[in-house]
């Protein structure tokens, strides 16, 4: 307690120093006078009396110094002194300060921006209680049927068996997405719902902010007409403050009672507006072979992931024996919820984090370089200070204080830059994440920024301060104007800086180059369709209203008929799910001529339902046979069209037309192949393997969810209102939302790659700029140092072009060494991003060569100005200048 009080007093002692000094002087003065008085009284003569009093008091200045030490806090005062001095020095060199601060701000800002994303997505716990125990459990499909697929959704019966047989989880909840038509509240609308088992909210340990969550009783068939809605849903459809508990809404023509409202922050997974019970019927509970649910679970305390995994392995094994038809080859994998949600963006984020670290290193090197160059001009000042008794540590501390000051100022500016960068990254990334996390500058990010700012300042200041204080005191003091003397040690240090900068820049450029080439190659990939001038219209009808197969087919046919009649529509068709979008399904097949094997061993192929006209609307080329026609009706002979890859895979030699294929999943008659069409990149442009696909006739296997594809002669978006009207003439309650062009869908599918390319290119551009500034700075400094030497050379008859080349050659030499080191490092490092590349290897020679050449040219340009300056040195001026 006393200690603390003393410290507070000492901190207080930092203020009002002048007054306190005056008081002490007065006190000592009165002390001496009293002592003299006493001495006089003892009979001394005045001179002796004063002398004795002063001797007894000891050195007055020393006393004052001791007193001051005790009064304040020495190191703190020194720090303040250094800071004040640093600020003064930096203010006297506004040019240097501005360049250094800005350089550091760019470097630190890039790090702050990327770190804030990493922090939100990979580091900060998910906003659920004890979120580390939240897991998702996926199926692992048999590799024979699904080569390369690591995880798969889960079937209801398997989920129920997992749930009843496991001992490692507290709860296990199944969830399935539902697209529902909301009617009876103005314009019909399509909403995203999540059907969940009753324990969904308790797995997450979360409750509705009003009303209640689900209980086991809600999860029974026939009782499931209750919903919990999101706050956003309530805001949108009801008043903000209205009590909506107990109100009913119409979803897919069925009434649901609102029993709960979630808090505004809860939207899990992203985009879900309401939650409803699964309420599986006994028939649905028995489904083992259709995998369309996700499973979330909470680990019991004391059970770790590995233990839970081994238990799930055992359960899967049992199920595979008990139900060989459906479960042979199907395993289970336990995966932390965070990895399930964000695992796909993780590698890209780590690459970006590495990239910004390099940018910061380059910025650091640059500032070290600038500081060193500038500090050498201060050698004399430092020498004098050392001669006056400043220790080496003290001088180093002064230089470090200056660089840390620079970097903290840079950090402050960086926060401003990062603020805008983070906003745009978050705006881009937000809708692409399965769970929207708050990406922003929180305390952790601020702390991170402060930490790297200080660290950066120290790193940038270490080399210059070390060099500066190592200099020979005598030599420094003897310096003349300091213009022609160079110090071999610091020259070497500067050259090393340049080499490092060039190498780092090259590394980043290679990374960016590979990503950009990937994007470029992907954009050049033939998607198998012609996405230009195509409008897509997703439609979902409720099977309560359209219960029979005929009604469903008729709805879509009627809509198509009206749409085709619209002016500007060239052709139109419907498909069960669009290429490049999620939601496509696969089914096991037996193609004619293939051995008949159990379902688990049968190859899975993509299956799409299409209407006549779809192929021509998408311009998928018909290679053999015919398209589907209106004549292919429900009751007529079942026919299909297969993709080229399908035909080549199963009938590499024979003619595919007339062959038969059996879709074994839902037992039915075999279908006859009537046409072969070109391959479409159904699963994304970056999937190299051609997709074996079957196009089944919509009329022969009706569905409630289809997407219309319209080929238009005018800009597709101009038709949106006409199409909406056409749909509403068929059914006024049918929501028409999310109408987009096929081009934007293709474009969206490259979003991740594009973000990577843009960010990496930005960072690489930064690195290139900083590298160029670094080379330029070092070369101009070198020229300034050598003005007299160059003057002598010219006076002795050296040609100006020789001088020019001399400087250029020197700069280029450093750049080339840097490039070589950078290339070697790139060979090792780019392998880490191989998973994000497409169509080229991580050591793509073209990229490497191009990047090296670009960097060499930039280095050349950076040397050009100093070289010209050297060439123009006037020998008379240079020699007289001493």
């Amino acid at each position: 307690m006393r200690r603390l009080r003393a410290w507070c007093m000492r901190f207080a002692g930092l203020y009002r120093k002048d007054q306190q000094d005056r008081e002490l002087a007065e006190e000592l003065e009165s002390h001496v006078r009293m002592h003299i008085d006493d001495n006089l009284r003892c009979g001394m003569n005045p001179v002796e009396a004063r002398r004795q009093a002063l001797i007894k008091l000891g050195g007055v200045e020393q006393t004052k110094e001791n007193y001051r030490d005790r009064r304040g806090i020495r190191w703190f005062e020194t720090l303040l002194q250094d800071l004040r001095f640093g600020v003064r020095v930096l203010r006297k060199n506004p040019g240097f300060t501005a360049v250094a601060v800005f350089t550091l701000a760019l470097g630190i800002g890039a790090n702050t921006a990327i770190f804030s994303v990493v922090n939100a997505i990979l580091l900060r716990p998910l906003p659920f209680q004890d979120s580390g125990r939240l897991m998702m459990i996926w199926h692992t499909p048999p590799q024979k049927s699904f080569p390369g697929v690591a995880r798969f959704a889960v079937s209801p019966a398997n989920y129920l068996d997992w749930r009843s047989q496991n001992h490692g989880f507290d709860q296990m909840s199944a969830i399935g997405f539902r697209s529902l038509n909301l009617t009876g509240m103005g314009q019909p609308e399509s909403v995203t719902g999540l059907a969940v088992s009753a324990d969904f909210f308790s797995v997450l340990r979360i409750r509705p902010s009003a009303g209640r969550g689900f209980v086991a009783d809600d999860d029974q068939p026939g009782r499931g007409n209750v919903v919990v809605v999101s706050d956003a849903f309530r805001q949108r459809h009801f008043g903000a403050n209205e009590n909506i508990l107990g109100r009913t809404i119409k979803l897919d023509d069925q009434s649901y009672e609102i029993i709960g409202v979630m808090s505004p922050k809860f939207e899990f997974p992203s985009g879900v507006q309401l939650w409803m019970p699964l309420a599986w019927t006994d028939k649905e509970r028995g489904v083992r072979g259709i995998h369309n649910y996700l499973v979330m679970a909470r680990l019991k305390s004391g059970v770790d992931k590995e233990k839970a995994q081994s238990e799930m392995d055992a359960i899967s094994n049992n199920l595979a024996h008990a139900y060989p038809t459906d479960d042979a080859g199907w395993g289970a994998v336990v995966m932390p919820l965070r990895d399930s949600l964000f695992g796909s963006v993780r590698p890209a984020l780590l690459v970006l984090l590495g990239a910004v670290a390099f940018v910061l290193l380059i910025a650091c090197t640059n500032v070290a370089n600038l500081t060193l160059a500038r500090a050498l001009g201060r050698r004399k000042e430092i020498a004098i200070r050392t001669a006056l008794g400043a220790s080496r540590g003290r001088v180093m501390r002064q230089v470090l204080t200056e660089t840390v000051l620079l970097s903290v100022a840079g950090g402050a500016l960086a926060l401003l830059l990062a603020h805008f960068a983070v906003d745009s990254i978050a705006a881009f990334l937000g809708p692409r994440l399965r769970f929207s996390v708050e990406i922003g500058l929180d305390g952790w990010v601020l702390g991170f920024t402060l930490a790297i700012s200080i660290l950066t300042g120290i790193i940038a200041g270490l080399a210059p301060s070390w060099h500066l204080t190592k200099a020979n005191l005598n030599a420094s003091l003897k310096l003349g104007l300091g213009k022609t003397d160079s110090d071999p040690g610091s020259d070497r240090a500067r050259n090393v800086f340049v080499v490092v900068e060039v190498a780092l820049s090259l590394l980043l450029l290679v990374g960016a180059g590979l990503t950009i080439r990937t994007l470029y190659l992907l954009q050049g990939v033939n998607p198998g369709i012609d996405p230009h001038n195509v409008l897509t219209v997703p439609l979902a009808i409720s099977d309560a209203k359209y219960s029979s197969a005929d009604q469903q087919t008729n709805f879509f046919n009627n809509v198509l008929e009206r749409v085709r009649a619209l002016p500007g529509v060239e052709s139109a068709g419907a498909v069960s799910s669009l290429p490049f979008q999620e939601g496509g399904s696969t089914e096991p097949v037996i193609a004619e001529g293939q051995p008949i094997v159990p379902m688990a061993d049968q190859p899975e192929v993509a299956v799409r339902l299409i209407s006549p006209g779809y192929l021509s609307a998408m311009r998928i080329p018909l290679e053999q046979g015919r398209d589907l026609t209106e004549a292919d009706k429900a009751e007529s002979r079942p026919v299909i069209i297969v993709s080229d890859a399908f035909a080549k895979r199963f009938w590499p030699h024979g003619n595919p037309i007339g062959k038969h294929v059996t879709l074994t999943f839902v037992p039915g008659p075999s279908r006859e192949v009537v046409g072969v069409v070109g391959d479409v990149k159904l699963d994304g442009l970056d999937v190299t393997r051609p997709v074996a696909a079957i196009y089944d006739a919509m009329s022969q296997k009706p569905q409630t969810q289809m997407v219309l594809a319209l080929r238009t002669s005018s800009p597709p978006t101009s038709l949106i209102s006409a199409v909406t009207d056409a749909v509403h003439t068929v059914d006024p309650d049918e929501p028409v939302v999310a109408v987009v062009t096929m081009e934007s869908i293709v474009d969206q599918s490259l979003g991740q790659q594009r973000l990577n390319a843009v960010l990496l290119a930005t960072f690489a551009g930064l690195a290139l700029l900083l590298g160029a500034i670094g080379i330029y700075g070092v070369q101009s400094y070198a020229v300034r140092q050598r003005v007299r030497e160059i003057g002598i050379r010219i006076a002795l008859g050296a040609k100006r072009s020789d001088v020019f080349l001399l400087v250029l050659r020197q700069g280029l030499k450093l750049a080339l060494i840097g490039i070589c080191i950078g290339l070697a490092a790139s060979l090792g490092l780019t392998r880490l991003m191989a998973s994000q590349l497409y169509g080229l290897s991580a050591t793509d020679p073209l990229t490497f060569a191009a990047v090296a050449i670009v960097l060499a040219i930039v280095a050349l340009l950076a040397c050009y100005i100093p070289a010209r300056r050297a060439m123009r040195v006037d020998p008379m001026v240079a020699l007289r200048d001493e």
Partner: protein
């Protein structure tokens, strides 16, 4: 000058507190003289070291100071004991008594171990 031992580390503050307790408010010069007198002129106080010690005690709250006028009409800074200072003095007195007793036992002649 005779060879007088300096005040050893850590004891100056007790002496200051004790002096203030017996003498009441006193200025720095007075404290220094009093300490020398009390020690029977065996100790020599470097008057300069006294002031940082006074500052320390003041920062710790054991003494307080204010400006006043001395007997012979000189302006001087007077120090006085605070309540906390009084307590501290009691505590330190106890500790010193204990320490000296123990030390005295060690140094007492005649008790030889076999």
């Amino acid at each position: 000058m005779s060879e007088k031992p300096d005040v050893w580390q850590g004891t100056l503050s007790v002496m200051v507190l004790k002096t203030l307790q017996t003498m009441g408010p006193l200025h720095g010069y007075g404290i220094a003289r009093r300490i020398e007198q009390t020690s029977g002129d065996l100790l020599s106080v470097n008057y300069g070291t006294l002031y940082p010690a006074l500052l320390k005690l003041e920062q710790e709250g054991y003494i307080a100071s204010e400006w006043g006028v001395s007997d012979n009409n000189r302006k001087a800074k007077y120090y006085k004991l605070t309540r906390a200072g009084r307590k501290q003095l009691e505590k330190e007195t106890r500790e010193w008594e204990q320490a000296t007793t123990i030390l005295a036992r060690f140094l007492a002649p005649g008790e030889k171990s076999s």
